[in-house]
Amino acid sequence: MAERSEPVLQVRDLHKSFVLHAIGGRRIEALRGIDLELYPGEHVALVGSSGAGKSTLLKSIYRTYLPDRGEVWLRPDGRDPVDLLSLDERSLAARRVREIGYVSQFLRSEPRRGVLDSVTRAGRRRGLTPDDAAEAARRMLQRLGIGEALWGTFPTLLSGGEKQRVNLAAGIICPPPVLLLDEPISALDPANRDAVLELIAELTDGGTSVLAVFHDLAAIERLADRVIRLDGGRVASVGRPTDILTELTASIGAHR
């Protein structure tokens, strides 16, 4: 981790509310002014009780949710920073392919397309040649324990844990400099979970920066360089994993 360099991702005063027109225009304040930095090669974990705003934060950075205001500065590979929130949609779509990725908990892979084909195409979109993409996809699937017998299968026919690993494979093949991971191991058994955690650890070793939500505290202890605890749409505390997890456990105890 290189704290001295410029952050690769910098979030400033990010606000997000939802206005539900179907129920009389009710407004839900989900993020109330978030600030954070992510440095090259760093793994930052977001923790907090459900409803604290963890997933909303990831989706607002990626602009799957449209933030009310704030700034999200992306500084890929030391180039000039760009505010994702002020980009036009076409430019943002292009940056999403090469510079920032989002992996959800649920399979977003394309219907009626084989497992290997899906992952290979993800590599192609990120600029790999057809041969390199196919090779990288095979290697990735093997490492994630998706055997060759499943490679021609449509993802819809897979188990929950298999789908999640295929989704992850497509998300981290030829990884962009910034990756947002939204509970990518929620449906995995222990053996597969370990394989996935190892791969995620290698991503940051290779220079990718990761901002992640895990419900699994052991995973956070193993992977995270820093932990940010959210509460009520605000940053409650930032620190080393051991400190924040102790604080988190204490706060859960205090609510009981």
């Binding site: 179907a22 449209l66 009626r112």
Partner: protein, 278 residues
């Protein structure tokens, strides 16, 4: 860089009043019929651009004006207002609405292709599948019989039309197969811009899925600029990166497709997504 297709301030009004008919229509008034003249404001103030390799969706209920927009772009209708530019026509310097009818038609041969919901609009059903494709090729100047045959066969292969049916009249084909022939014909001369109007609506679910997959693969591979009109969110989600939501002839929201689906802002978009997602 000039986008492959640029549409600005496009409007289409059926009726006598012209632009004056716009008052009192649109989402705020819940109507497309002018209260003063009875003119129909089918679409108004529609602007967007699409780049090469990009697909833009237009979604809305029937009567929202989405197909009108497409028909104005391809020249089936004459817009009342606005401009349409293609990068491949004078580098975008020419507004297509100023061109004469025959010049407009000529663009359909190799620069601006349309795939209609009803294959009968895009094909001559009496002709064979190969004949339909050959018609488009000869319009572009192909004269060599062997060359035309082999290009037609290549297109049939690409769109999964069995080669042994290439010489059968299209009217003997199923709906899904007709749609594949229409795609083959539309793509015959490698047009840089392709407009798709409800391309899978009306097909059986499994047939629609296969045609949709074919369109997705073609868009992936050909690098064309595409506009996809559909009332079906799953079609828009599968094929496009950006989309517009239309209601009562106006664009009420524009954004990235995943954002429109997961965080729609306009009350109408929220209702549409809510209905589609249950």
């Amino acid at each position: 860089m000039t986008p492959a297709l640029q549409v600005e301030g496009l409007g289409k009004i059926y009726g006598p009043g012209g632009a004056a008919d716009v008052a009192g229509t649109g989402p705020d008034h819940g109507r497309v019929v002018s209260p003063s003249s009875g003119g129909v404001v089918a679409a108004w103030d529609v602007s967007f651009s699409v780049g090469a390799g990009e697909a833009l969706g237009i979604i809305g209920e029937s009567g929202s004006g989405k197909s009108t927009v497409l028909r104005c772009i391809c020249g089936d209708e004459t817009p009342t207002a606005g401009s349409i530019r293609l990068a491949c026509v004078d580098g975008g310097g020419r507004d297509l609405t100023e061109l004469g009818a025959s010049a407009r038609r000529a663009l359909r041969i190799d620069r601006l292709a349309v795939v209609y919901q009803d294959p009968a609009e895009g094909l001559d059903l009496r002709l064979s599948a190969g004949g339909n494709v050959a018609e488009r090729l000869t319009a572009a100047g192909w004269r060599n019989f062997g060359g035309i045959r082999s290009r037609a066969a290549e297109l049939m292969r690409r769109t999964d039309v069995p080669l042994d049916r290439m010489d059968d009249p299209v009217k003997e084909f199923s709906g899904g197969m007709r749609q594949r022939v229409q795609l083959a014909k539309a793509l015959a001369n490698n047009p840089p811009v392709v407009l798709l109007d409800e391309p899978t609506t009306g097909l059986d679910a499994s047939v629609a899925a296969a045609v949709l997959d074919l369109i997705r693969d073609l868009l992936d591979e050909l690098g064309v600029a595409a506009v996809v009109v559909s009332h079906d969110f799953s079609v828009i989600e599968l094929l496009t990166q950006r989309a517009l939501v239309m209601q009562h002839g106006r664009v009420v929201e524009a954004g990235l497709t995943d954002q429109l689906l997961e965080d729609p802002q306009h009350p109408y978009s929220q209702r549409l997504v809510g209905a589609a997602r249950g």
